[in-house]
């Protein structure tokens, strides 16, 4: 081709300019107050649609009246003048997610809060609000999500894809329990695939969040963890959106076939933020001034936790919502709502906490409706016996004050129960592997520790595993698989543990 021909071609192309007019649906600010903008116009705006103010700031359409749209400002409300133009964007609020988010602390819009620049490469835009996977897309919850906490893994086991509520008063160890769970995912117990963790802090003090993040970093848990933060000093809109952002991140990994764990710390404050927004939006107030859709708010969030079928990638999203009760009242509005939504609850009690039983799990009020199937076979074998012994002890505990007036069988039962309670105590930030837990629980539940003094139980537990590994390595190896223990294995284990127990008396 001659150079003249190319010049002619380009000239021809430049003569025919493609006209693509920009079409927008606009409105104007009528009033602003408490982070809510009322705007007229916007006749084509949809509920939950993102709108853009003239100065580039974004808002979320929260209600559509006959004449006005109420918009939630997604940034500080300073200087939004009356009459400012707002236009629809035709998009829903979404977040850019990729593996680059691991180890980072972000806000609900994906902006970094840890003081380091964040560039998310190869991202996927995930909408904050989505419909939960349907029945046909799901598979039963059967794979364990090990918390590393004996009392939880034994009494209220959690499966991958389950929703397990953690409920209790302030300062009962709710956050400590979930932080331990996140830390335990580092160990890749039972050769299960790595669980990606998302910790969502809602309405918490920045100091508390910083302590949690520092602990996760210290325990090398940030490598597989993303922290989503909407602290108490952020607008209610951010606190309202934070758990949805965390859930969207978890879903991204679930759809990639991975296992994700999302912790919502806590949904009580989320409910408060939503109540604040709803009152400002002038929605009718219901019980305790919460809006009528407060149940739907939490059910649509938690319903997104799922175990997907193999045909859908086989990923899972486990949800651990936290609810803070007032004076131990689990029959209040929000706790009962979330209890009925989730697949079980772990109830932490102040009295137990103050009595030194930590984690302060109330075994009677805690339950896991689906997690039992997700326990390893050996764990299920030993925890059943312990649960029975513990229940009998609790019903007899009231008599324990009579001491020597009790018959021998009852005293023996109480004695064993005390050892079970002692073995279920566990220091913070020291999650245990499946095998360690199986041996401790089996030893206490089957009466192998009946002769060990109470104050020596902790010493027994700290040394028994090392002893087994050194003195009977083949047995330890056999038990490590998590399979059901046959009679011969059980006998061998009993002999080894009894022999060791004698050495710590």
């Amino acid at each position: 081709m001659k150079a003249e021909d190319l010049v002619k071609q380009i000239e021809l192309k430049l003569q025919t300019a493609e006209v693509r007019p920009a079409v927008a649906n606009v409105g104007h600010v009528v009033s602003v107050g408490d982070g809510i903008v009322k705007a007229d116009g916007l006749s084509r705006a949809g509920y939950g649609e993102l709108v853009q103010l003239e100065d580039g700031r974004l808002g979320l359409v929260m209600s559509l009246d006959e004449d006005f749209a109420s918009i939630l400002l997604l940034s500080e409300e300073s200087s939004v003048p009356e009459g400012m133009e707002i236009k629809t964007t035709g998009t829903l609020l979404s977040l850019h997610v990729s593996d680059d988010l691991f180890g980072r602390v972000i806000d609900p819009f994906g902006s970094p809060l840890d003081g380091r620049p964040l560039s998310v490469a190869n991202w996927t835009a995930v909408p904050l609000e989505r419909i939960a996977p349907g029945v046909t897309q799901r598979a039963p919850v059967e794979v364990p999500l090990k918390t590393g906490i004996k009392v939880v893994d034994a009494l209220t086991p959690i499966g991958r894809g389950q929703r397990q509520l953690i409920v209790g008063d302030r300062n009962t160890g709710k956050t400590a329990l979930v932080v331990d769970t996140i830390i335990n995912q580092r160990s890749l117990d039972l050769d299960l695939p790595q669980v990606v963790c998302v910790y969502c802090a809602i309405g918490q003090k920045r100091g508390s969040i910083a302590r949690t993040v520092a602990k996760l970093a210290e325990e090398r848990a940030m490598g597989y963890t993303i922290v989503v933060v909407a602290s108490s000093s952020t607008p209610a809109a951010m606190q309202y959106l934070a758990p949805f952002a965390a859930c969207a991140i978890g879903e991204y990994f679930m759809e990639k076939g991975r296992d994700a764990l999302v912790v919502y710390d806590d949904l009580s404050k989320h409910a408060w933020a939503y109540r604040q927004l709803s009152l400002l939006l002038r929605r009718p107030a219901g019980r305790e001034a919460y809006p009528g859709d407060i149940f739907y708010l939490h059910s649509r969030l938690l319903e997104r936790a799922a175990k997907l079928s193999k045909a859908n990638g086989g990923g899972s999203l486990t949800a651990l919502p936290i609810i803070e009760t007032q004076a131990g009242d689990i029959s209040a509005y929000i706790p009962t709502n979330v209890i009925s939504i989730t697949d079980g609850q772990i109830y932490l009690e102040t009295d137990l906490f103050n009595a030194g039983q930590r984690p302060a799990v109330n075994a009677g009020l805690s339950v896991s409706r689906v997690g039992g199937k997700a326990q390893s076979k050996s764990f299920r074998q030993v925890s059943g016996l312990m649960r029975l012994e513990l229940a009998q002890y609790q019903s007899l505990a009231a008599f324990s004050q009579f001491g020597s007036d009790l018959d021998e069988a009852t005293q023996k039962r109480i004695n064993r129960g005390k050892r079970i309670v002692e073995i279920l105590k566990q220091p913070q930030f020291s999650p245990l592997g499946d095998l360690e837990q199986v041996i401790s629980i089996h030893a206490a539940g089957s009466g192998l520790l009946d002769e060990v003094p109470l104050e020596k139980i902790a010493e027994f537990e700290s040394r028994v595993m090392d002893h087994l590994r050194t003195s009977n390595a083949p047995l330890a190896q056999k038990l490590a698989g998590g399979g059901r223990m046959d009679d011969a294995t059980l006998k061998e284990l009993n002999e080894a543990v009894t022999a060791f127990a004698k050495t710590v008396r």
Partner: protein, 112 residues
């Protein structure tokens, strides 16, 4: 209020003075404010504003008028558009001007 504002107009698009007077006389001060807002919205809905840069107003307005039958056309010159035309019909804005194109381009660059 929207219905009252709608009824205040004749089929020809003029204000029906008799109806308007009856409405104004019977409304309280706060109701009158709402009526005024509704009247403004109704006027915006009935009228199409066409901003054109440079000449050719009559030629362009004829073509646009065909697209919005039954609506009153208000054509004015706006050289700030650079070149092209911007049509505002109710809440909808169709911007086919150079200035609009540049604004959109800047937004895209800002997002990237």
């Amino acid at each position: 209020m929207n219905r009252l504002a709608e009824l205040s107009f004749t089929p020809a698009g003029e204000i029906d003075e008799e109806i308007a007077a009856r409405i104004v006389d019977n409304l309280s001060r706060s109701q009158l404010k709402s009526y005024l807002a509704a009247l403004r919205r109704e006027m915006r809905r009935r009228r199409v504003y066409v901003a054109i840069s440079g000449g050719r107003e009559s030629e362009v307005s004829g073509a646009i008028g065909e697209r919005y039958p039954g609506k009153e056309l208000s054509v004015y010159r706006d050289d700030g558009l650079g070149a092209g035309v911007k049509v505002s019909a109710g809440d909808d804005i169709v911007d086919a001007s150079v200035m609009g194109y540049l604004r959109e381009l800047l937004e895209e660059i800002g997002k990237a």
